[in-house]
Symmetry: C2
Subunit: 196 residues, 2 copies
Amino acid sequence: MEPQRRPGGRSARVREAVLDATTVELAERGYQGLNVDAVAQRAGVHKTTVYRRWGGPEGLVADALGRASEQAWPIPDTGTLVGDLRGLTELVRAGFADPESGPVATAFVTAGMQHPAAAAALRGFYAARHEEAAAIVTRAIARGEAEPEVDADEIIRLAIAPLFHRLFITHEPVTAEQARRAADIAATIAGTPPGT
Amino acid sequence: MEPQRRPGGRSARVREAVLDATTVELAERGYQGLNVDAVAQRAGVHKTTVYRRWGGPEGLVADALGRASEQAWPIPDTGTLVGDLRGLTELVRAGFADPESGPVATAFVTAGMQHPAAAAALRGFYAARHEEAAAIVTRAIARGEAEPEVDADEIIRLAIAPLFHRLFITHEPVTAEQARRAADIAATIAGTPPGT
């Protein structure tokens, strides 16, 4: 019998256990090593449950990203635009460098390069993250630190794109100084946008 | 018998044929579909030749990237910093959007996410590209369009990182307007670097 899908019910508990197991397996083995049998065993559920509900590794990653999108990002609120942007780029740098969260985040990005469903899930995940982080810029506009016509989304992307470019395209480490520098450049552009 | 490795000799011709075949296979099937037997067949060589010299898909991609690094990039020289940077970001945008070169370039980036040898090859490939493109900024400094203390490599990365971020992290298309905008931002920073 199919369990009732009420929040907090058995179905929700199975989802939590399976997505937790997916996260641990991703951290340990990466996306290429993600195996439904291993996830099922770790979650303590039958593998047919996982196949029926998630289909395979791609579905597991997409749902894990969906769950991650629902969790709030600890957006810095330091009182200055440059302070907030530095906090944001440091959050990204430290997140990927962290021995626990780094491999999971890396596996999510790698999965996006390999499967359309994971790519679509990543697009949604980052859209939610950028929307949260845009508060940094809207607060700065309210304080008079950024020009009112500034595109908040563009400033957030400008601050973090150089970090992702190093990590996943040129495969170079990101230093704390480089993260700070990317934030400072984004703050400069928010104060003096081109074409104005 | 091992063929003599003189330039233009049989060994060089085999390399050209195998790397050309690798490029076509990458364009058609992507990195995950890259198969040594198919490459050997397309190149008209025995598969043991490919295995002995390149080891496998990872080695083929690394050598194809090595060959690509040796080819010059058509860096724009329009006479202005903003013109050159706009030309550069458009080169990147159009390259990934092109039905012939786009899938190959995408396969290279994808391979880098999956194998250390491909990641190392990509690092070398982009280091060469950035060094070539840095001429845009050094020419601008000579013309007085950019501050002498500007880090040319940083400006080049700043111009192109937002494009790579959309293509491979958030999985969004890049418009010509977004490419132009990224160039304009980099040009603004070259004229007014933060912390000066």
